[in-house]
Assembly symmetry: C2
């Protein structure tokens, strides 16, 4: 077979069947974007294989013909990792959507990588178990995609990120071979940790086809919502929370602009965003409601030294959900408002105050609007930079490159990194050499080369 | 400089100073063994560098002259990873023993890799924090060694293994370059997870010189000790504990032979090892003593369906320590009794009963004595095989190879692995091709080659 595109697509049709290679323009459009708001790339074909065996055959063809192919999960990413080259091939994992086994003794779940994360969470919950990564896009993202970018969630403070739950992966390598990276056990000191090498590798080393995840028992939740009149007191409160020895499952915040946008979006009048410079959420978990309330009261007393505002406490499932509303809707509120870019820097918790002040300084210098919110307990800020409605796409892109770089350099200077959960993708690739030494990039290229000599995937 | 050994040692003396290259036979002997009882390998020199810069210079020399060198931590390993080739060079990390920073806001500790694990645990405890890996050799092993083999501990059921606490590492690569693998943050989705690639790589990719670890707040402990008259009921009780949705920080056990040996060693008469086929320990953790006792009573009621014996509960620090005694001394009790080999297979928790039965069957078939104990909550068994006092060293080694292989093959057949915390080292290397596919070994060799083309380290 030659490397001619029609030949390749015909050969792939022979593997997956005619119905599972999409070439209709309207259908292709659905695979042209992720959740960034301002770029699309229409593929020439979308392939929908049914299992790892078909994927293996497809990759063999791509490898032999040096045809690049982009793996796509739920398409909910914000780093453009799921976007193909123009006229490229997309391999969608949407048909690999079976939950294979939930084992209550082992507390592990085995599933195909195209299962929607919330479907997986619901299925294990039915068995009395919990996959604790409540990622905000859970209703649409695929579990394989979560693993590919090592995504985080509001619960990452207590539970770590997706990577901390992955114990074994089935991978199709670019040469078509199929491997498992580990064993279905929670302790393993036998050889290099291939499982964690693939986790977070954004599909650049192989295609994740099956996943084995650790589970935990479900627990009760209690939520505090704490408005602050001074944002610096919010950061000080968070830092001292840890010094005092307290613990929480989530510590999240939104800043003043976020309060304004979310209030408008949700049509809620109770927060005066002139007075309120930020809102903090502290979520506690445990098995005993009474004990949780005791802890909440103790924490309320502690945190009230940092704000004169009244503290809200929710301790039933519905109340907790309602109290999270403003935080959980802030992303939508921003999308509703403007075109924007969402970056997700991380700094050590001891530097959150300094990072926030620096973002304000950078925004003032370059005169852009923004809001900061996110996983403040982990030092992980979503900085959403708004597009000035007057500027052209070209102007916006040129400016953005400078602004993003200024924020990234500050995060790096403070010992942080440029992404805590979104990944590098295409969008952060230009900044990788700021975030890493040449040596680190050299090592990563070496690893990439080892698995994908012809650079066919992603 | 030539590759002549005297030239190399002289060049190294110029780097570290005369006092820090040991060549005296008596001193060398101290570096000739690990904690396996039956092998030694005397090195020709032991080098004691003071920091990563000296190590970098040493590795440059080794790399240029293709001289192999073995890194040694506390020498407490049981897989012979710290033993040099005969007349080889040892690089000991014992002078890299500084704790650099404990940050209470970030809840992380930065230390050199030669810090004794218990010293690190004590230092963070003084600051109101906890490094929860209470590995049994903590008083002698080095934190860098724990990371190199990704060691576990009795607390691994709740806290995972050492790998789950490593967020950043300073590494000297075989070519002498010095890199950091990550950043001092708890979320990072920027590039491949080099931190976890080095963790558990047993020093084969580079030398760990500094470590950055996550910490947690300390909590209270409560311990149940439960004797069983039927070992199969012990395994069933453990399995149903998880089905019921209970949680624990440790679930450990020793079998009948272990009860006999430990009772004799500790001169304790209360356990009749004719009647008692196994003892189970369940440790609970929490912030509230009253709540812990409630849980303990509930669990006691549950577990008493599986054994007629009386359940002991300890809830003060001293009582807990005393109640752990038999489990914590079983290793010493075995050493005191016979020459032995300790293997540490892992199987899924749903297979612990089948694995235990198979070990008994294999022992009966080949007629050897043994005891099984360990981290049953993780499915991680320490199988200690005793040397028949009549057999010669040669006979023992020949037999052992067959017996160990039979046990390993069964663990693998049950979806498990050959080591949960000891690592591969020299001792398990012959079995690696049973534990892994050719493809996996090929990938690992490729990674090794990428970092250490001349195969100079470990």
């Amino acid at each position: 077979m030659t490397g001619c595109k029609t030949d390749i697509i015909n050969a792939i049709i022979e593997i997956v069947g005619h119905d599972y290679v999409l070439t209709n323009a309207e259908l292709l459009y659905n695979y042209s974007r992720d959740c960034t708001s301002d770029e699309e790339s229409i593929p020439s074909a979308v392939i929908l294989p049914k299992d790892e065996k078909e994927i293996s055959k497809i990759l063999k063809i791509c490898n032999e013909t040096k045809t690049s192919i982009t793996v796509r999960g739920g398409g909910t990413g914000v780093s453009r990792g799921a976007l193909s080259h123009t006229n490229g091939l997309i391999l969608s994992l949407e048909r690999l959507n079976k939950i294979i086994e939930i084992n209550k003794i082992d507390r592990i779940v085995t599933a195909e990588s195209g299962v929607i994360t919330q479907d997986l969470r619901n299925a294990v919950l039915k068995e009395g178990l919990n996959f604790p990564q409540n990622i905000s896009s859970a209703n649409a993202c695929f579990i394989g995609g979560n693993i590919a970018v090592s995504s985080g969630s509001p619960k990452s403070l207590k539970y770590g990120t997706t990577k901390d739950y992955v114990i074994n992966l089935e991978i199709v390598l670019p040469d078509g071979s199929i491997i498992w990276t580990g064993k279905n056990v929670t302790k393993n000191a036998t050889g290099y940790n291939l499982t964690q090498l693939f986790t977070g590798s954004e599909g650049t080393l192989g295609i994740i086809t099956k996943v084995v995840l650790k589970l935990v028992p479900p627990v009760k939740e209690l939520l505090l919502m704490i408005p602050f009149t001074k944002i610096e007191k919010l950061f000080e409160g968070v830092q001292q929370f840890f010094v005092k020895g307290y613990d929480a499952s989530s510590i999240e915040f939104i800043d003043q602009k976020g309060v304004e946008l979310a209030s408008k979006f949700l049509d809620k009048k109770q927060w005066d965003s002139k007075r309120i410079e930020g809102i903090l959420w502290i979520e506690l978990e445990g098995t005993d409601s009474e004990k949780l309330m005791q802890q909440a009261i103790e924490i309320s007393e502690f945190i009230s030294a940092y704000t004169p505002e009244e503290i809200n406490i929710a301790d039933t499932q519905n109340e907790v959900k309602a109290l999270w509303e403003m935080r959980s809707k802030i992303g939508e509120a921003v999308i509703h408002h403007v075109f924007f870019r969402d970056i997700d820097i991380v700094v050590p918790r001891s530097k959150i105050d300094e990072m926030y002040k620096s973002i304000a300084g950078i925004a003032q210098k370059y005169d852009f609007e923004y809001t900061v919110f996110g996983h403040v307990g982990n030092g992980n800020f979503h900085v959403n930079i708004f597009q000035d409605k007057q500027s052209s796409k070209k102007q916006w892109e040129d400016h953005l490159a400078i602004w993003v770089k200024a924020i990234f350099l500050k995060a790096l200077e403070l010992g942080g990194t440029i992404s805590g959960e979104h990944g590098v993708g295409k969008i952060n690739l230009p900044y990788l050499e700021d975030a890493m030494t040449n040596h680190q990039i050299h090592i990563m290229n070496g690893i990439r080369e080892l698995f994908d000599k012809n650079r066919i995937i992603n």
